[in-house]
């Protein structure tokens, strides 16, 4: 026999069958730096050719691995070099054609998202960055699979408040333009502080300039498995809780490592990282909020939630880090409201509010994610929300992000349906007092003192 007990075999099967354990994504990162061309059409052709050449076996490989190990691999995705860098050489201000090219390549490859319609503007904006940011609403609303992200702050550079102001407007414009689809365009747009270059998760994935030509990154999942493991230790103290989460995270991550290595070998592409994130889905039993409630909170969002999330996030990292040769990406617990049945329920009953979510983002990966706000929220208020979140990332030297959806024509009490993995979101109230004057100041918030380490 293989030195593995029947109990252990059944445990693995139970995780997959009953507890929604899956590999959330295999994401191929492709550098497009060599596709830059003075002629935009030629650049687009090079981009299309390179993506379709590199990723031609991606989906098929994912399916073979999924079959061989009996583990679902939910998404196969592509991330590319931030397009603002690639398109900068082209003599055009019409960047939507680059988005459409990415969309066409993604459709041809059979992946479900392609990320990297991005710009990094922590400190300032080049012309190319401006063109790209201006084009985001149209780009996201005239494509299906393209995801966009804009980095507006880092711990080293501070916060580019001009970009924060602009992104508030861009989010509102994107919401307007996709109003007939529940403002879905905004679900594909992330604003980052300290963005990571090897994140396999959408909508914030892009292939950083520090990466090689092509790389395979894998994002795991498994909130249901953690919840189920915690059910076995009801009433035990936090030392036990942390230990159980660590062990579970280790097992889940080992699976991610196996899939990543196998995909890397089969595709003959270097293995980049495994991202340890606990990524929820709207399925009942696949929720991060329910893990927090399993720890003893009546509803996610009540007092104690931040502490519970801090423990969870840290224990996931500790368990996962030993299970993989290279850990990277965002690696922690995600708290997207619309994609998590428990978060939706907590928001609907008023237990979870925007301010509490903001506090939670101080101790977990990412940030204010998939949160629907009233459609008439002013752009300056969105910018205010972004500024707060960027400040948390900058000061705490961590990645934070904002993915909010001003749901056009909807107000508190309504909800908006995105479908699939994106779920549905109750509209959450925002503060009524204005941030207008604050946001209109513009300029930069200087880098914090702890960035001056040299």
């Amino acid at each position: 026999m293989i030195n593995i007990s029947t109990n252990e075999i059944v445990e693995t099967i139970k995780m997959i069958r009953d507890e929604h354990l899956d590999i959330r994504t295999i994401t191929m990162g492709i550098s497009l730096l060599d596709c830059a061309d003075e002629d935009a059409n030629r650049a687009c052709q090079k981009i299309y050719d390179k993506i379709t050449r590199y990723a031609k076996d991606l989906v098929k490989t994912g399916e073979i691995i999924s079959n061989r190990y009996g583990i679902p691999i939910i998404n196969k995705r592509i991330s590319v070099t931030p397009i603002a860098l690639v398109a900068a050489a082209s003599k055009t201000d019409n960047y939507v054609q680059f988005a459409k090219t990415l969309d066409r390549a993604a459709a041809e490859m059979g992946v479900n998202f392609i990320g990297g319609y991005s710009a990094l503007v922590y400190k300032g904006m080049s012309k190319s960055d401006e063109y790209l940011i201006n084009s985001i609403p149209e780009a996201l609303c005239s494509t299906n699979m393209v995801c966009s992200s804009v980095g507006v702050a880092t711990t080293k550079a501070g916060i580019n408040m001009d970009a924060v102001k602009r992104m508030g407007e861009v989010i509102c414009d994107t919401a307007e333009l996709s109003a007939n689809q529940g403002s879905l365009g905004c679900a594909k747009l992330v604003v980052f502080a300290n963005p990571v270059e090897d994140n396999p998760f959408m909508a914030g994935a892009f292939h950083g300039v520090g990466e090689g030509d092509c790389v395979i990154n894998v994002g795991i999942s498994g909130p249901g498995v953690v919840k189920s493991a915690l059910e076995q230790v009801k009433g035990c103290d936090f030392g036990v809780v942390a230990e159980v989460i660590k062990k579970t995270a280790f097992k889940i991550t080992r699976m991610g490592q196996l899939v990543a290595q196998e995909a890397s070998k089969m595709l003959n592409v270097p293995f980049g990282i495994v991202d340890l994130s606990l990524a929820p889905t709207p399925e009942v039993g696949d929720s991060v909020a329910y893990i927090l409630e399993e720890m003893g909170l009546e509803k996610c969002g009540t007092h104690g939630t931040t502490a519970a999330l801090a423990l969870l996030n840290d224990a996931v990292k500790k368990g996962g880090v030993m299970a993989s040769g290279y850990v990277g990406g965002l690696s922690g617990a995600f708290i997207p409201v619309s994609e998590d049945a428990g978060m939706i329920a907590a928001a609907e009953c008023g237990a979870l509010c925007l301010d509490k979510l903001e506090a939670m983002t101080c101790v977990c990966s990412v940030g204010l994610d998939m949160i629907a706000v009233p459609g008439d929220t002013p752009a300056s208020t969105i910018s205010g929300i972004i500024a707060d979140e960027m400040a948390i990332g900058m000061i705490n030297q961590k990645t934070t992000a904002v993915r909010v959806i001003p749901a056009i024509g909807k107000d508190v009490g309504d909800s908006v349906e995105f479908g699939g993995l994106l779920g549905s979101a109750p509209i959450m109230p925002v503060h009524k007092y204005s941030s207008e004057e604050f946001i209109s100041r513009g300029g930069r918030i200087p880098a914090p003192i702890h960035s001056l380490r040299n």
Binding site: M1, I2, N3, I4, T6, N7, E8, I9, V10, E11, T12, I13, R17, I64, N67, R68, Y69, G70, I71, K251, R254, M255, Q257, L258
Partner: protein, 89 residues
């Protein structure tokens, strides 16, 4: 290559016979077999050698799944590495 075939479900006559029959017909050798009742469910675990298998992994998986449906149990086949990597350092 070695794989693990698991059968989980309500016990009935012929489960082992039919499963091992399907494997034998495809030149898949059973290296080890254990069965037990776990949480009221009949659980059989087989370690098989699929190097000489007449059919590919995907097809084997499909045929076992169909047999499972016929017998009212769940049958799956998975490469042994998934269990090794998860449970052993």
């Amino acid at each position: 290559m070695r794989a693990v075939v698991t059968v989980i479900g309500v016990d009935k006559t012929g489960i082992i016979a039919k499963t091992s029959g399907l494997l034998a017909n495809n030149d898949i050798n059973i290296l080890d077999i254990t069965q037990t009742i776990l949480q009221d469910l009949f659980t059989m675990v087989m370690l098989v050698d699929i190097d000489k298998s007449k059919i590919g992994f995907g097809e084997l998986s499909k045929q076992l799944e169909e047999l499972g449906a016929e017998l009212g149990v769940e049958i799956r086949v998975q490469h042994e590495d998934i269990f090794k990597s998860m449970h052993r350092i």
